[in-house]
C-alpha cells in the first residue's frame, strides 16, 4: 500500500468529514427529524435502538441516498445502515462517477 503524504492524508480526512456531515444533514432533512445533525455520532446505530427509525424511514433514506450519491442500496445489504461510518464506507466504495 502506498504511503500517503501528510497533505493527502489531510485531504482524505476532510473529504470523509464532509461526507459524514452531509449524511447526518440528509437523515435529518429527509426524515424531518427534530434534532440537530451534529448530535448524531459517527458510530451510533441509525435504525432500531439508535435514532428510533422504522422501515418506512429506511425506504426514504435508501431513495435519498441514491438521489444524492448515485449509490443503490437494497434491503439485503441493510447492514450498511448500522452507523454513519459504515454508510460512508459503502458510499465511497460503490459510488459511480
Amino acid at each position: 500500500m502506498d504511503m500517503l503524504t501528510y497533505e493527502e492524508t489531510k485531504e482524505q480526512a476532510l473529504k470523509r468529514k464532509e461526507l459524514t456531515e452531509r449524511l447526518k444533514e440528509l437523515i435529518v432533512e429527509r426524515l424531518d427529524l427534530d434534532i440537530e445533525p451534529e448530535l448524531i455520532t459517527d458510530d451510533q446505530p441509525i435504525f432500531g435502538r439508535g435514532l428510533g427509525l422504522d422501515s418506512i424511514d429506511a425506504l426514504e433514506l435508501f431513495v435519498a441516498i441514491e438521489d444524492e450519491f448515485n449509490v443503490t442500496v437494497f434491503d439485503d445489504n441493510i447492514e450498511v445502515f448500522s452507523s454513519i461510518n459504515k454508510l460512508a464506507d459503502y458510499i465511497v466504495e460503490n459510488q459511480e462517477e
Binding site: 426514504e60 435508501f62 431513495v63 435519498a64 441514491e66 438521489d67 448515485n70 443503490t72 459511480e96
Partner: protein
Amino acid sequence: MFSGEELAVVTGASRGIGRAIAIDLARRGVTTVLTYVANEEEMGKTLQQIEELGGRAHAYQVDVSVEKEVQQFFRNIKKHHGNVNILVNNSGITKDGFLPLMSSTKWDDVLNVNLRGTYLCTREAVKQMMVQKKGAIVNIASTSGISGTSGQTNYAASKGGMIAFTKSIAQEAASYQIRANAVAPGFIETDMTKSMDQQTLKQMINLIPLQRLGKPKEVAKMVSFLSSNDASYITGKVFTVDGGLING
C-alpha cells in the same frame, strides 16, 4: 391534460402499441424517452413521426430484462433529462405454444421481458418519482392476463402477474402520490396480431362485440388519460380496451 413539463418513459416504443403511446403522449406536450431492443430502423420512424408533430423524443437501446442496463438507463435519464414523472411499461413479447411442448426457454424469455422488465423499470422509476412525491405508472397488460388464452400460458401468466404487480405498487406508492394502473388491450392491429393464424383471428373477431380489431391509438388514448392529472383519483385499476371482448 399535461403541463408540458412531464417526462415519460415508454418501453418498447419502436412499433405497435408502444409507438402509438409515444406519439400520443408527445403530441400532448410530454417529453418522451423511448426504448427499443433491436429494431433501430422502426425506432427511427417513431422518432420521425414525433418530430413531425413538433414533439420531443429521445431513444435508448435497452433490454428491459437486464438489470444493469435498466439501472444505467435510468441514471442516464436523470443525468440528461431529469426525473421521470410517467412510466409506461409496454415492452412485451409472445412465444406461444401448448404447455406440454413449451420449453423452459420460451417460458423464461416471455416472463423475463414482460414481468421482470416491468419490475426492473418500475423499481428504478419509482425511486425518482418518490423524490418528487408524484408520478404515474401505466402497465400494458392484456386481456390474456385476465381471462387466459389457450397456447399462451407463459404470456397470460406474465400479464396476469403484471396486473397483480400494478395493484400492489399502487398501494405501496400511494402515500407518495404515485398512481399505478394497468391497461389490458384485446386484439389490436399490430405485428403481434398480424403474425397470428388468420383463420383464428377471423374467428376471434367474430367474438368481439364491436366486430373489429382495435387500433393502437385507441389504446394510447387510454394510456395518456391514465398518465395525466385528469386521472388523479384513479389508481390500482385495470382498464380493458378490447371492443367488449371479455367480461371484467
